[in-house]
Symmetry: C2
Subunit: 310 residues, 2 copies
């Protein structure tokens, strides 16, 4: 499935991007107030740093960076967009973990934000990260062209909002107490909102920044959609099979909560078939474009999405 | 202080703008999914509509619309920007009312969102409104120029985020349990973040959309800053003096919670002096510009900010 050389270069490249994102986030979340800000309150800032720094696979930033690079765009501006998307991902984890939501104590092997700080701070840390992501992605250092910055902000909002991640989370919570189990098709739609939309937008953001043509953008969108779906099925399988120490969060919680997953709806074996088919579809989508020669890192990202251990 | 004719026209104009914003919000929050959205989950959408429709003075939208009009810009695109800012205001009320924050049961004379729905839905309704505001303000129907849309998104994020409203809310909560009372200067900074930043940005957004020149923009910013500060002092005075039925929310709660207010720090009489001085400063800021002849509605908005009963 992979050559020996690429099997080495993908993890190396993933951790290289993760390190650059860490530096970018650290700088963006420094104590100095930015333009238009009055003051950065120390405790709130600390909670936002706790929620974003020192953890995570940084798969979304990786997809932004590698998609942009495939199309010839590299630089600090790409990292800003990638960091903004990662902030939105981190905000969603902080709010999902709240007592009023999933009520989780552990995240990335550490106490969740409302445990390490308090509930009000966790609510505001999430709000602050979500808001700041739009500041970062829409401001001038991210791209010289205002229309590109606006497209990034708009796309991020759509991926994260009512018709994307937040809406998917609402459907997910509703499914826990539904009288009848959801169909596999409904579960896949729910997941395409809850997890898929932001992963797919990560790919799209790279394409927007790099000014991809319509054909490349369509292919990358198809790749992003399949990768996002594959990622969530793999997540459900990890929850069913995985062990807590490796996951850095509680395992087996989906079944206990009556979560709508393809594992619950179709069984583990069928879920794995779907996961692998989606990963292959992601790879196939890339093959149809002119950049097929340099697409290896994105191919491996799709493999990683389903082969990861946490 | 006011002529008889303008005393009639301001409330009329305020309710006219409120009606147009209601229509705009109603349309933006319709069940049909927008571009890039997969599906709008019914219950989450219903909670977002509950949080935004049928209430509120709509002072922020009024400031957007009247500032833009003063500078020659009118139309549905101005209403979109105004509606986006109102969504951010409404999201902040939903989250502030949560059990983990102020734990309020009553807002605008109705049960708060977590009471009318449930806590998870209230968290997501707030998240959804905040996110959707950026979709609306950054998308093409808001302005033909992408740089203007990006500037609006960026300015909204800065007014609402860590260095603005969310940060001010964090300082406000911290002050409740602080060992020493805050100084009047610290309280004014806190309030300039918590309430002032978004009111001031409402004026700024009107100026950005209308393409105000540097001089007009500086004058309008000064007006917005003073009006925002006056509004919050008036709010504190209303809480100390007002009655619950007229306020539509609990009165006298600041003192009970040890809230940092100028009434607590300086007493009611001194707070009123500051409130009136700020309103006058707001009016004076407008006088220094070339649009001083047609500024009457903004002058009255500053008077209204301190003379209102709820």
């Amino acid at each position: 499935m992979q050559t020996a050389s690429s099997a080495i270069s993908f993890p190396e490249r993933l951790s290289e991007v993760a390190a650059r994102i860490e530096t970018t986030l650290d700088r963006l979340l420094s104590p100095e107030a930015g333009a238009g800000e009055i003051l950065r309150p120390a405790r709130l800032l600390e909670s936002m740093r706790y929620a974003t720094l020192g953890g995570g696979k940084r798969l979304r930033p990786f997809l932004v960076v590698e998609t942009a690079r495939l199309l010839g765009a590299e630089g600090d501006n790409v990292l800003r967009a990638a960091a903004a998307i990662e902030m939105v991902h981190c905000y969603s984890l902080v709010h999902d973990d709240l007592p009023g939501m999933d009520n989780d104590d552990l995240r990335r092997g550490r106490p969740t934000v409302h445990k390490a700080f308090d509930e009000a701070t966790a609510i505001l840390a999430g709000d602050g990260l979500l808001t700041y992501a739009f500041d970062v992605i829409a401001s001038e250092p991210t791209h010289a062209d205002g229309a590109v910055r606006a497209a990034l902000a708009c796309g991020l909002a759509r991926a994260a909002g009512l018709g994307g991640m937040a809406g998917g989370q609402a459907l997910d919570l509703a499914a826990e107490t539904a009288t009848a189990p959801l169909s596999a098709a409904d579960i896949q739609r729910l997941q395409s909102m809850k997890t898929g939309a932001l992963l797919c937008f990560s790919v799209e953001a790279g394409a927007i920044i790099a000014g991809a043509d319509a054909k490349a953008r369509a292919a990358l969108l198809a790749y992003g959609r399949c990768l996002g779906a594959a990622f969530q099925v793999a997540d459900d399988i990890l929850d069913a099979e995985g062990d807590e120490a490796q996951l850095g969060k509680r395992a087996g919680k989906d079944a206990g909560r009556n979560k709508a997953t393809l594992v619950a709806a179709l069984g583990l074996a069928e879920a794995k078939v779907i996961r692998d088919r989606l990963a292959n579809d992601a790879v196939s989508a890339l093959a149809e474009t002119h950049f097929s020669a340099s697409r290896e890192l994105l191919v491996e990202a799709a493999r990683f999405a389903v082969a990861r251990k946490n």
